[in-house]
Subunit: 322 residues, 2 copies
């Protein structure tokens, strides 16, 4: 079966044997999968990963330990935890130190016709949630993670920095709290998409320093944290969403003087993302840039890496037309 | 009257006119004052300050708008706020954007025979709190600020990085919560002082990564934050207490992946520090390195800047013996 494999830093579509589920795992026939900026970073060497890429998954259970679940359409969480350590016992399985991560660390991902996540990672999808939208469950969950870590009140002034895929999703999620939200970016087309969704937008130069209660940094750039610290009020909170390869330079004095809180934020609750996407509270359709057959995965990656690109979805069932 | 003045980067003891209190201010005859690492940083150019240094104050009200308070022995908060802005209205007067800061920014400090803080900044000292110990009210309040920002539970594993004056005070304050505390440093003499106060100590190399719920960074060094992030568990909290001049380099990925919270922390509640020092819950005596007359203030600064130095107090009433 076909799979997009990263091997010694090179990406290539390969024919491989159908993967065999381990104990507790399901065999999933992948329907569609989304390309994330983290995939692009991993292809550039972040995480030193080798194997099948891909972690934004929508598919159907083809075989699994409990036959009642066969045929179900599912999304899959990405962290595979041990279930026995201190973090797992605290309910923080996503932070299990023994974890592998689908398509990111030690576990093959879903840019393939088949993938084998553990049953405990799977969430049944409601019928009204299309395959295309279901590919956004994982990134929308990451967006909701902000609300699992920071109490955002309806009177709060909140800025999201970054008008990329994740920034646009986070903006939709935060807009749903009724807070006074501003999405900050510099891509006219993407800011227009946000405005069409009813979100206030701004360019960073137009904003007053220290004027936001909460600033979410989703620029994907090492300079974003500095910009976020400039915008947040004393005793305010910066949520750091960007992952990138490399170090940042920071003047720590404003953090101390203004007693700012910086919260790192990663994966989030599928339980919260699925109903939000199914109900239309979060609407990702306008974020889809292209749907590309798996056999053209390499060109899909090139497209996703273009400046200004939005979400590229891989369709595992479509034949190539090109 | 005598005052230690920083002028164009040079420190000098000068004879100046007695300062005249402004509206709402008191004339304080300074008894003693403590030299803080921030003073050393300011003397090196941090904050671009010019004027009388000093912000750890114990003195007696000599004149003030309300005669009932004349003769009272007091400690003085360092931030002078406007009382009318959004931050002041939130109860965050210490973050007033119009503030001046005694001996740090725009307001003469207390390394002088007289100083003129606003009445609203003064806290009456109980008799049982000696002048020497009262000089620790300001830094002990900064130590208690950790508990105003982070909920430290008695079952939490907490590390304090840095065995300097502030680190040792923070360790005493945190020890009082009953948490499982470790003070991490590399000065044998200072770690011995902490052990004499019943505090567990360690060298950093002996500690397991990701093993503390809360890590307080009080090393005063730009490399301290990196060390703190290494020690804290996933979803744990790092409190950043160090202020220094310059930038730090940071790999932000662990913050995001482990969803760590970093909280900047500065000045704290005098209301909490005074009873803790008066009762002996916090005992600063062993932290006093030397008591030096004001007329020898320049040599007191040299002493305070020695590696391994602890708290140097300036005594404004003592004659020089040297």
């Amino acid at each position: 079966v076909k799979a997009l494999v990263l091997d010694s830093g090179r990406l290539a579509l390969r024919d491989q044997p159908t993967p065999v589920p381990g104990p507790g795992e399901a065999l999933i026939r992948v329907a569609m999968a989304g390309v994330c900026n983290t995939d692009l970073e991993i292809a550039r060497g972040y995480m030193n990963f080798s194997g099948v890429l891909g972690h934004e998954l929508c598919g159907v259970i083809e075989a699994c330990p409990d036959p009642r679940f066969a045929g179900r359409r599912v999304a899959g969480e990405i962290n595979l935890s041990c279930g026995r350590c201190e973090q797992c016992a605290r309910g923080l399985a996503r932070h299990c130190p023994q974890r592998t991560v689908m398509g990111i660390a030690g576990k093959d991902g879903c840019f393939a016709e088949y993938v084998t996540p553990p049953m405990t990672n799977l969430h049944t999808l409601p019928e009204e949630l299309s395959d295309e939208r279901a590919c956004f469950v994982e990134p929308a969950a990451a967006a909701f993670e902000v609300l699992e870590q920071v109490m955002v009140l309806s009177r709060d002034r909140v800025a999201v920095l970054g008008d990329g895929k994740l920034g646009l999703l986070i903006a939709q999620v935060l807009e749903s709290t009724g807070c006074a939200l501003t999405l900050v970016g510099n891509h006219a087309r993407k800011l227009e998409l946000a405005r069409q969704a009813g979100i206030t937008t701004a360019e960073i130069g137009s904003l007053a320093r220290k004027s936001f209660d909460v600033v979410v940094e989703a620029t994907g750039s090492p300079t974003g944290l500095h910009a976020a610290v400039e915008l947040v009020r004393p005793r305010g909170t910066v949520v750091l969403k960007s992952t990138y390869h490399g170090k940042l330079e920071l003047d720590a004095a404003p953090l101390v003087i203004d007693e700012i809180t910086v919260v790192g934020s990663r994966c989030g609750p599928f339980e919260r993302a699925i109903p939000a996407l199914a109900s239309g509270l979060v609407r990702p359709d306008a974020l889809i840039d292209a749907i590309v057959p798996l056999v053209r995965a390499e060109s899909a990656f090139e497209r996703a890496a273009q400046p200004g690109a939005l979400k590229v979805l891989l369709d595992m069932r479509a034949e190539s037309v090109g």
